[in-house]
Symmetry: C2
Subunit: 793 residues, 2 copies
Amino acid sequence: MAPIESLLWRRLRIHQIYGANTDVGKTIFSTFLCNAASNHRGGADRVAYLKPVSTGPGDEADSNHIKRFAPSTSTEVLYQYDIPCSPHTAAIASGRPIPSDHALLRKIQEAATRQAELGPGWLFLETAGGVHSPGPSGTSQAELYAPLRSSVLLVGDSRLGGISQTISSYESLKIRGYDVASVLLFQNDQYNNDGYLEEYFDKHGKIPVTAIPGPPAQHSDKDKDAQALGAYYGNTGSSNKIGKVVESLDKRAQDRISQLESMSERAFKTIWYPFTQQKLLSPGSISTIDSAHGDYFQIYKSQDTTKSSHKSLIQPAFDGSASWWTQGLGHANSQLTLAAAYAAGRYGHVMFAEAVHEPAITLAENLLRGMQNPRLTRAFYTDNGSTGCEVAIKMALRASRDRYGWDVKDKIEILGLKGSYHGDTIGAMDASEPCTFNEKVDWYQGKGYWFDYPTVNCTNGKWVVHVPEPLREHLGDGEEFESLSHVFDVSSRSETAVLQMYETYVQLVLEGLGKQGRKFGGLMMEPVILGAGGMIFVDPLFQRALVNAVRKSAHLIGNAQVQTTSENDWSGLPVIHDEVFTGLYRLGRFTPSSFLGVHPDITVHAKLLTGGLLPLCLTLASDSIFKTFESDDKSDALLHGHSYTAHAIGCNVAVETLNELQTMDMRGDWNWARNSKWKEDAAPSLSQDSAAPPEAWSVWSRDFVTKVSKRTDQVSGVWALGSVLAITMRDADGGGYKSRAATDFQAALKQGEAWSVHSRVLGNVFYIMASQKASQETVEEMERKLLYCLEKI
Amino acid sequence: MAPIESLLWRRLRIHQIYGANTDVGKTIFSTFLCNAASNHRGGADRVAYLKPVSTGPGDEADSNHIKRFAPSTSTEVLYQYDIPCSPHTAAIASGRPIPSDHALLRKIQEAATRQAELGPGWLFLETAGGVHSPGPSGTSQAELYAPLRSSVLLVGDSRLGGISQTISSYESLKIRGYDVASVLLFQNDQYNNDGYLEEYFDKHGKIPVTAIPGPPAQHSDKDKDAQALGAYYGNTGSSNKIGKVVESLDKRAQDRISQLESMSERAFKTIWYPFTQQKLLSPGSISTIDSAHGDYFQIYKSQDTTKSSHKSLIQPAFDGSASWWTQGLGHANSQLTLAAAYAAGRYGHVMFAEAVHEPAITLAENLLRGMQNPRLTRAFYTDNGSTGCEVAIKMALRASRDRYGWDVKDKIEILGLKGSYHGDTIGAMDASEPCTFNEKVDWYQGKGYWFDYPTVNCTNGKWVVHVPEPLREHLGDGEEFESLSHVFDVSSRSETAVLQMYETYVQLVLEGLGKQGRKFGGLMMEPVILGAGGMIFVDPLFQRALVNAVRKSAHLIGNAQVQTTSENDWSGLPVIHDEVFTGLYRLGRFTPSSFLGVHPDITVHAKLLTGGLLPLCLTLASDSIFKTFESDDKSDALLHGHSYTAHAIGCNVAVETLNELQTMDMRGDWNWARNSKWKEDAAPSLSQDSAAPPEAWSVWSRDFVTKVSKRTDQVSGVWALGSVLAITMRDADGGGYKSRAATDFQAALKQGEAWSVHSRVLGNVFYIMASQKASQETVEEMERKLLYCLEKI
């Protein structure tokens, strides 16, 4: 199912006519507009009128009115229903198949394309009823047509109550990202709505308001009626006013295109990009994103420079990095928009120290509940994953220092995994080992020991656990598994000698470090997948073994006399799971910790937490960690805070996101993927145990992953889990962050006549992820594209 | 002007009846509701009906309809206009004085209070027309009544087009923080809007929809009409349905109160608060904020436990810390809400690396332009002040290291001021000297030299610059100034020996540090006011001297051969201004750097940047700093990034905020403060020079500041600038972060029969700040309250 593209052409001015209510004169204004557009350049422009959905008897249809009173206009109706009621009711009553939203949008796009190909001109799209009147499928028009992002003419309501109708309709459009270019309405000397609205819209968005006299009262005599209307449309005053509207629309459309045209150049001059070597950048390599809906960006096609071109200026691109791993519920999801706007309208932001508001407490409680981890009882708010990880580190280090009686001046380090990444603030960086990301950063000073570990990949159709050098002596090069689920069957695998081997290895390392006199204050890791480190899939059994070993090894870490105080107290070291990337269903489960069967003492949550809309982070902690900071001395507290701590917008959007994700999970929205062949893979111990967590699965089909893995000349390994797919491309030079082995593939995906794929790579690792809302059709379309491009390069 | 409080009582159920349009049956549903409420507990509840504003001939008024058909209801109309049109038109036509929004709300509050005092009951407030129909002043009702936050019953539109009207009206309410409890509408067999809306509102917010038959057609015979209506209201089916609505409203109201009642306890159990010693916390000390509007929180009064109490459950409190210094355009400002929602609806969040979108480029350009600093050409986006400061440090250190040929392993430090604060992430903390905030933080390691400096205060009516120990030998204890503006007259003061003395002092220190072999990579400071360090007002001349001296001292810092390449290149060291707190009109000017007459090389902007709504930060830098990171090697780039970099919501809200603040400035919105006696203070060199920056002024009046400063037994110093007022309380123990000298004052302000002040203190420093939207009346009311409480303690 190829995506819909926004409607923008250099030579075709497209406007969508929305009404503040039914019967406010949309068709009358359309008629005026068609005539004015046709006179605009002395008839040089073609004018077309499109009514996507028309209800009521055919011969009274709006398009016939246009034909009659704006005769130089070509008219088209896509769906005609003869029953005079709302399109969704009429569509059902018609007994004909109801077009899907996608089919309707596609037809509009095709109609617009035809017009653009014919030559310079105008296209007016008249909607039905009010802004939220349902389309044939039942979806409200304001919602349905939003991805088209055509400029809007709002016909206001001049009757009693019409001020309210006009403003509310405007707001419903605005919060869906529409740009209202002009408000048009009839004059009404009794209510003078136009006077009020003129002032209002000047203040709110500087939108011009134009009022003309209303049409004559209907005659019973058809001919007289037509004559009166003819005279009405011939009125010079009204025509001149609408002529000016058309001029301003033309100018506005040109401005919009100039703006899009200039943006990448301006960005190139002004923006300092994150993670970007700007010397390798050019204006042409900067994507100008005009809007985004669902899984797709709408990107300005800068290559198009011919002023008279008949080609569309916008092309959809699949958001292959899920906007840096944040996107969960689709771009421009109006459910999240309303959640954000509600919180803004109720609170703005309210200060949080020693205060509480409903979204903040609800989110904290819901997240804690969702984790199903008896250790976690406390929620600390910050702004993003990096700052949330710093808080986690501050928590863990203080707890260990306090328990083991170390001094604040002692050098206390972190245990972690090689290739870990926890963010870009200095404290979070210090928790990762020296690497490309930090080698040139002043003040970076790695403070830790980072373990080697076995990794998982699908190669040539087989799931293999690759063993790292230090363990090969005992375990050989690796182990093959029947399926992905068998890799995750940590409870069966725990009964093998491998777990013991892993634990022994960890304890030997700890012993060695202890002998060097090094002190450690926490074990910190990303469960299952190390993201920025290169989408590395760590053997979950190893992570479990690592936690087990650390928790048993208080004697190797500090004062051997120290005892834990309760079942949920930490032992050995506080275990921190950085779930910023991997949490909240990114890997198919609420928490990836459940894959390991491990209850961490501290967890960090961000990215998907807010469904992909705005930054927010929570660090959860156990009671025993929390208690470390309690004292009669104010300065023993965790003196960390952000001005916008627990900002209401973020909290409310996150509450909505968690609810939606959990509902989708329970409702079985991902069953199309879960119930595909991934399910057949379920390991025996999982499928027999009804209390077992759900199997490992991905929206990327098992067959697709197998196919990719068999391209062994190009691909050294591939894995899929939840919404993520990662392909390690063969690189003669060994790969790494600076590798360019995946860039050919990325470049091939960026091509495409109708749509393309916007992706990011990590050295020789190509990855792609869908939002949790991506449909089966979308994912299948992507699989075909990926295979096609793999074959092509 | 005392603030309005939200309407919530334990024994009075208040509902506001809004219509999806005019003529949808608000009064008919009100009648049903009044009758049902009166039957709800068998007549035990009093029922009242309030029409705040009524238009149309008096004898046809809605309240008469209620009197007639719900006779046990007591009715009241606050403003009656006999002309049948929208209230704002009717109010003008009446020739009577038009009540202000505040006066209207006050009257409603008084009416509700009277009802609550009479006993348990119900109060239905019927609005006029549609949700956005204007009130008497012209303000839309949805906007006007939002601070009351009463539960809403939305009467839907059952006619053709009514689906759209109902949903749009709902959205206009929702984005202003209203909770719609129920949707009511008439059945209509032709359009079946109720069926569609029932499904819609179940999906969107689980709001119950109730439909009953519409009223009989109007009889020309009055008696027959009344008879038909009597029968209509007597209909058992309809009455039962509305009875159920009333039951659910009662339950909902109870739930809301229980929720408010439990929140502080739940927060006490679950939330880990920033900057808070939780052992000193109790549920009772946690403020439950139900909503916020303008400068006021609406706080739940937890002390009220009597179930039958007649006292209101909500009390307004002035947001005295401007929600941790963020608040700029007032809480719940619908202009910002719409800016946020528009961006959410157009983009969601879209990834920013190598991409651009309109709000991001517009904001970057507008902020750079607003700074009027020829050095600044580049904008780097992060999430908050702390991360933005880390980016500034990374920029400066790399630039210095590169120019002076130092190694990344070298210890490179920062020059700063004692008491500086740049945030709580480790990198930002390391730029501050050891102090209470960081002494117990693991991984903190101060990396810098921090200067002593002269400070400014008003004491006993005089503005004094206090000289620190190292400079007293030459300058004495301090210098008295005629006025605040004279302190800021840095250009006249630059011609005195003091500037030279300051510079010499700085250079001597630099020389000493150089001899110790210490390397410095940047000068970083908060211009004019050090916020978290205790609202310390630094002599602006000293900050200017510090910059001058550093810029002249390349030879003392590194390789003496190094030359600057252009006028806008940095020299000596990159100068970083952390304007997070002090910028964007907090101190009355776009940038506080203009007070010093200094062009920094790097600046950091957050807090007010988004008007007080959500986190976002920009670090601006000069071209020469930017160029340091350009190379053919990808890893030389500034490898720093946030997933939500330049999130569209934040950027668009910031664009709106900057526009609004700059418009307010140019329009002279603060002239009431500027043109007060502060203006008389203008130093001669400023008033004569038309090109001079605007004078120093504050919304806190000069006379008020003088008065406070004269309370020398309690106050050791006070200053006011822009919207900030800081009072240093006398503390026998010397003050500091752990001091409790200001807490008595703070506690006194927390009291108040009708409203109170929510404030934060920094040890013995009490501060308060208004939003930039605070009115003269609000500030004057606060001044009276502050003086009253100062006298009382």
